[in-house]
Amino acid sequence: MHAAVVVFPGSNCDRDLAVAFEAAGAKVSKVWHKDTEIPQGVDIIGIPGGFSFGDYLRCGAIAAKSPICGSVAAHAQRGGYVLGICNGFQVLTETGLLPGVLLRNAGLKYICKTVGLKVETSASAYTEGYNAGDTVNIPIAHHDGNYFADDETIARLQGEDRVAFTYTETPNGAKADIAGILSDNRRVLGLMPHPERAADADHGGTDGQALFRALTGALSAPVT
């Protein structure tokens, strides 16, 4: 599997994501936000956590307009895989690749801690290493992770089995406890928790490893 990790000037989890991809056996290329093309042969694009452009006002809004995001959208539209974590999830909603928006946390404070997540579906390349209904412990670290969409959208996401993860106890006020969602072709995943911070026994536990391993397994076969 060949993964590209997009680097915005304020990304700060790009190395962490690259390390987690590599640990699962992937080849990783970093892609600068001013680039306009994704390297040849990339199976998945990772959009990492951080504060892409400072994000003082609307998280991910400026990043969504950066040159590389056109190529990310084109990759997704071709059926390519895109994984957006934390700020990456915010960027994916701002580009319109995923529905909804991430509001300020209900408690108005930044929260960094390990939380319980329920795996809602194992039917995706990201989650097939888990069983639906599993509870996993994965860290969150965000100020704006309060997922919101209108009722119709939430119902559609739930009806189409596109909610990938929910919080066992919502830390941020997210509607329907949503922590991560899939695109309609199930190849784009956006989630607020950081699986790359739970992919190493010496740091944050290992509950996130299954996501990276499943991806590498699924994407090492030719994409159809």
């Binding site: 304020g10 003082y56 960094c112």
Partner: protein, 719 residues
């Protein structure tokens, strides 16, 4: 624009005494220009010149085989083996944080991070030591919320994990909170960058964010006492932009790899003035600045404002001219300003031109080197009268009083607002004892702690100074680390008062003795004086930040308490209650002497812990709150009950130094007993971890109930 005339009022408003002005006249040989007066005030204020403290700072041990660079540069540099170095420093941002808590604390983080990456190190860990007034004081809540959010807002965006710190409350900080920020970075030991300029005619380059009017005169403000006009000083607080800082860090580290950097200095207090003078002074060169080339973000800025602005996220560099194109390309990539604003000159001269007009023309060496230095009169702190009898307390009531106080309650409300895990190398997040990060890509780890018990320092500056270092040593030892070196952030009141100066002199003596005995030299630090409001001083607060090395991840002593584990105490318990947490929180009595510190014993006990770490499942040092609080915290973290045999107040709550609490299984306890016998150290079984109840002697309470109190009290008090 007409510049103001130099009048006695103008001189006084620059924080310069009549004697100091007379000296300026002598140096310049004429009346200084307005800009020159500003430059002198920037260089000679307490914050930048250390004029009251220098004499005493010189007495501190600063060398050792592990020290690559001691005090005097942007941060200290210490060898961690394998060609790598840890670069660290702690610095205060007290005055700005009191005036404008969010921005004051945020820019405190910004400043300390810059100090670290200016040396060529990527920041990998941060801590902060915070002291606030009593929780019921009308200003405290706003300060706590603003400061914590400011630190988080800056550090989280920048992308450095916060791995430790302290928060305390005492009425002595009502009018003057303390915000001490620590940062550490990693670098290759042979790729450290320094500030000394070299070569004549080399371009002086301005990097980073544009200059505005924010922070003009900030360092002078930070060198004065507060009174009720403090709100008027709000405009002297700078505004932070962590996104720019993050880019500045990436660009600076990338620039260093091009080989274009001869020397580099961050623009901190007194901005352009201090950085230019320092680079010239250290390199024995003069500097010429052409201010029209300085990137500005406000219109019609004067030379005076540009020279004194403390706008954040800026650096000054001396560039290898042949690599200008490569260097500029790096800053273009990161969309940051890169402007040649002057050059190094052969003669001893600090020449500041604005559109060709001379705004300042001063002898640089004299400006840097002849800042006044004072041998302030001081009096020894009198011995504390002996402690009157302390009535016995029901042990559970005593424990409950401690964990209900925000001083000893869990600090989760604070540290969950900080990103503690970014960079994915955090081995231990804040909570109990030292924070730990892995050295990226290796099997080594670094441990960090920040400690001081201001009550002790006030009662007995020498023992209190020693104790701060000893506690840091113990916190590092308790996780299996070998303490390497120390940074000190010395916060005191007005040094012109002999009793305050006496506290300073005493604390330095204690710190010096302790770092020498425990082999953890001071490699960087900062002094913050005049922490007084309306004549009332803070508690003397010499914050000690220390770093330890763990040679393999396997050597880390974890926090793995299980039901059935034995509780052991290493070190002698005599039940010292003077200046204890119990006395303060239960009886509201601030009395007695600080506990004495036996440095040889500290060393022996730290060595014992390290040598026997394989037998230890969990370990914590005993500090304020004594055995009862430490054992409760350990049990609470594991979710296991506790049964301590002792029920008497002095044994449970005494604060004798040099002690550790150890948890392990029965076989390991036996092995430790034998080892203790051989090593000649005191090791005693004090109880065990078991069940779901906390037993202190014959008193008990459910763990769950105490745990809820412990976790909720902080937010209840200040959120």
């Amino acid at each position: 624009m007409q510049e103001p005339a130099i009048t006695p009022d103008l001189i006084a408003s620059h924080g310069l005494s009549p004697d100091e002005y007379a000296r300026i006249l002598q140096i310049v040989g004429r009346e200084p220009s307005f800009t020159e007066l500003g430059i002198f005030s920037a260089m000679w204020n307490e914050h930048c010149s250390y004029k009251s403290s220098k004499k005493w700072l010189r007495t501190l041990p600063t060398t050792g085989p592990q020290v690559i660079c001691g005090p005097g540069e942007n941060a200290g540099v210490v060898d961690i083996g394998d060609g790598q170095a840890v670069v660290f420093k702690m610095e205060s941002h007290n005055h700005p944080s009191y005036i404008e808590p969010y921005q004051g604390a945020a820019t405190g983080m910004g400043g300390i991070l810059r100090d670290v990456f200016t040396m060529g190190a990527r920041p990998v860990a941060a801590m902060n030591s915070l002291s606030f007034g009593e929780p019921s004081h009308p200003k405290t809540r706003q300060l706590v919320n603003g400061v914590v959010e400011g630190i988080g807002g800056y550090g989280n965006c920048f992308g450095v994990p916060t791995v430790g710190g302290e928060v305390r409350f005492d009425p002595a900080y009502n009018g003057n909170c303390l915000v001490n920020a620590f940062a550490a970075g990693l670098a290759d030991a042979d790729k450290i960058f320094y500030s000394a300029a070299s070569g004549v005619g080399m371009p002086v380059v301005y990097l980073g964010a544009k200059t505005g009017r924010d922070g003009v005169g900030g360092a002078t403000m930070a060198s004065a006492e507060f009174d009720d006009t403090i709100e008027e000083k709000r405009p002297t607080v700078q505004v932070g932009d962590p996104f720019t800082e993050k880019r500045l860090m990436e660009a600076t580290l990338e620039l260093m790899q091009t080989g274009a950097v001869i020397s580099i200095q961050d623009m901190g207090a007194a901005g352009l003035t201090c950085s230019a003078v320092e680079m010239g002074d250290k390199g024995n060169l003069g500097v010429r600045l052409d201010l029209e080339n300085v990137p500005v973000r406000e219109e019609a800025m004067t030379a005076y404002e540009m020279m004194l602005s403390e706008s954040q996220e800026r650096m000054l560099m001396v560039l290898r001219p042949e690599l200008e194109t490569e260097a500029k390309a790096v800053f273009d990539k990161w969309d940051l300003d890169f402007a040649i604003v002057g050059e190094t000159v052969a003669e001893d001269r600090f020449l500041v031109l604005y559109n060709g007009e001379v705004k300042a023309d001063l002898p640089l060496k004299t400006l840097a080197g002849t800042a006044p230095e004072y041998d302030r009169p001081w009096v020894e702190t009198p011995c504390a009268p002996p402690l009157a009898e302390v009535p016995a307390v029901d042990p559970i009531d005593g424990l409950r009083a401690l964990i209900t106080s925000p001083n000893y309650a869990a600090k989760e409300w604070v540290y969950t607002q900080y990103d503690t895990m970014v960079m994915a190398d955090t081995v231990r997040i804040p909570g109990i004892g030292a924070g730990i990060i892995r050295v990226h890509g290796t099997d080594k780890a670094l441990a960090f702690t920040s400690d001081v018990t201001p009550r002790y320092v006030k009662a007995n500056p020498v023992e209190g100074g020693k104790q701060a270092v000893a506690e840091a040593y113990r916190n590092l030892s308790a996780v299996g680390a070998k303490p390497l070196a120390t940074t000190d952030n010395l916060n005191f009141g007005n040094p012109e008062k002999p009793e305050i100066m006496g506290q300073f002199v005493g604390a330095i003596k204690g710190i010096g003795e302790a770092v020498a005995a425990l082999d953890m030299p001071i490699v960087s630090g900062n002094v913050s004086l005049y922490n007084e409001t309306d004549g009332a001083a803070i508690l003397p607060t010499p914050t000690i930040g220390a770093v330890g090395l763990i040679d393999s991840l396997e050597g880390i002593i974890g926090c793995d308490v299980r039901d059935g584990h034995v509780a052991l105490v290493l070190g002698e318990t005599t039940g010292h209650l003077g200046q204890s947490a119990l006395l303060a929180e239960v009886y509201n009595r601030i009395e007695g002497d600080a506990p004495p510190v036996d440095l040889a014993l500290e060393k022996a006990h730290g060595d014992f812990i390290r040598a026997n770490r394989a037998h230890i499942k969990a370990c914590t040092d005993l500090s304020d709150g004594g055995l009862a609080l430490a054992a409760f915290e350990m049990a609470e973290a594991a979710g296991v009950g506790l049964c301590l045999e002792a029920g008497d107040t002095a044994t449970l709550f005494g604060e004798d130094q040099g002690r550790y609490l150890i948890a392990c299984n029965f076989d390991q306890a036996e092995a430790l007993m034998i080892a203790a016998n051989t090593a000649g150290v005191t090791l005693q079984t004090v109880g065990k971890f078991t069940g779901d109840t906390v037993w202190l002697g014959h008193a008990s309470a459910p763990l769950a109930e105490l745990s809820a109190t412990f976790r909720e009290s902080f937010a209840n008090a200040v959120a």
